[in-house]
């Protein structure tokens, strides 16, 4: 029985972009969320520095590119919710990720894009303090970045 389940799971994982399958397995309780996480981006979300994160993602020496654009305000009124958009103008963009340099774990989110997706995503993240945010893009097998500083201000009455 266990054999069978393992086989099932291996098949699912093999499917690669089969996230739908993964969630299906999760929802019926066939695999635990920890296993699901391990299956996808092992370690990258637990990495504590930019370098560790890049290593975990298999990224080396990403090139700075003006074809990667970060859309965010210079100032955020509250670090609990910081809206950030990433757009890639590079052909064949396969993945975009957002890293917040000074967060306890820099990697906030990563998006695998199929050909049907425009390489442009907007999200909202928590930032513990003023920090550089880095848009990491994988296009045609190579990695590119753009960086922007976002100031987190103390707001309101201050308490």
């Amino acid at each position: 029985m266990r054999e069978a389940l393992n086989l099932e799971r291996r098949k699912a994982l093999k499917a690669g972009a089969g996230f739908g399958l993964l969630s299906a397995l999760l929802s019926v309780g066939l695999i635990s969320p920890q296993q699901a996480r391990a299956a996808v981006n092992k370690g990258a979300f637990d990495a504590k520095t930019l370098d560790e994160t890049y290593k975990a993602l298999g990224v080396s020496a990403p090139a700075v590119s003006d074809q990667v654009v970060i859309n965010a305000s210079d100032i955020a009124e509250n670090g609990a919710v910081v809206p950030i958009g990433i757009k890639s103008n590079l052909p064949n963009t396969q993945m975009v990720a957002l890293l917040v340099e000074r967060n306890p774990n820099p990697l906030s989110a990563s998006y695998n894009l199929t050909e049907a997706a425009v390489p442009e995503v907007t999200m909202r993240v928590k930032m513990g303090q003023t920090s550089n945010v880095i848009a990491l893009v994988k296009a045609d097998g190579k990695f590119y970045t753009a960086t922007k500083e976002i100031k987190i201000t103390l707001g309101g009455c201050g308490g």
């Binding site: 100032i75 009124e77 707001g155």
Partner: protein, 268 residues
């Protein structure tokens, strides 16, 4: 000498202009931040839950709130928030939306007052039903002008007492509401402060509540907003639904009268 003065005056102007520009830049960036937030207000999800709660048969009497009289007759929700607080002959009290919802939940659904006021605001992992109901009812006044006539003598009396409380200083920082909210064009840190003694200032504030607060991750009602102002003033904690809080609401709604509701808002 005259040249020196002219030069000095020039410097002052220039640095003032530079400061103004720096401030504009911060202002522009804050405006952009708010614009990006406004594109998706999580309060919309809270509103949906509120509507479900409104229609759900609940409590010992297994009844919904659909027959609740919010001031425009039983079951009328559209526009109700915009004309609250008001005097209700059945309870012989001036009530705001939350006080009225508690009244309906006790009379129609058979809950006790303690049951429905115990968890009136959201705590981590526990969303408050009251917040959801307020968000739903509030949103159904969207586009309607605030209309508190203060016709009943008790409403007029509450407005006067609200004004008194607005200026009443207390606590180890000498604060009153007026300290921060009786002047035009002021900021606390980067946040603009409305002059709540004017229609424009009070209107901007009152039309947008209930509002989602990104710093808190949930919707705040006007009760929550005012009770927290008193916390920030370093005062002890007012009772939920107390007369002092409702009196302030009556005073502020009166100042905002005529302003078109735009809720749920989204704020820092």
């Amino acid at each position: 000498m005259r040249h020196l003065l002219a030069l000095l005056a020039g410097c002052v102007l220039a640095s003032a202009a530079m400061a103004a520009r720096a401030q504009d830049k911060s202002g522009d960036e804050v405006a952009k931040y708010r614009e990006m937030l406004a594109d998706g207000n999580p309060a919309d999800l809270v509103e949906l839950r509120g509507e479900e709660l409104w229609k759900a048969k609940r409590g010992p009497k297994n009844a919904s709130l659909e027959q609740c009289d919010l001031g425009l007759g039983p079951g009328v929700v559209d526009g109700a928030y915009a004309q609250l607080p008001k005097y209700f002959p059945d309870s012989k009290k001036v009530m705001d939306l939350e006080a009225r919802l508690v009244y309906c939940m006790t009379t129609l659904q058979g809950f006790t007052e303690a049951e429905v006021t115990k968890a009136w605001f959201t705590k981590p992992g526990k969303e408050a039903d009251m917040e959801a109901l307020v968000t739903f009812v509030g949103a159904r006044s969207n586009g309607k002008p605030i209309n508190v006539a203060n016709r009943h003598p008790q409403e007029a009396a509450m407005a006067k007492m609200g004004e008194y409380i607005f200026y009443r200083r207390a606590g180890p920082q000498d604060f009153s509401c007026a300290i921060c909210h009786a002047n035009d064009n002021k900021r606390i840190r980067l946040q603009e402060l409305g002059n709540l003694t004017t229609k424009e200032g009070a209107g901007t504030a009152m039309k947008s509540f209930p509002a989602y607060r990104v710093s808190q991750g949930n919707v705040w009602s006007m009760q929550r907003r005012l009770i927290d102002c008193m916390r920030q003033a370093r005062w002890p904690e007012p009772k939920y639904l107390s007369d002092a809080v409702i009196a302030l609401e009556v005073y502020l709604q009166g100042k905002a009268n005529g302003t078109v509701m735009q809720t749920p808002g989204i704020k820092r």
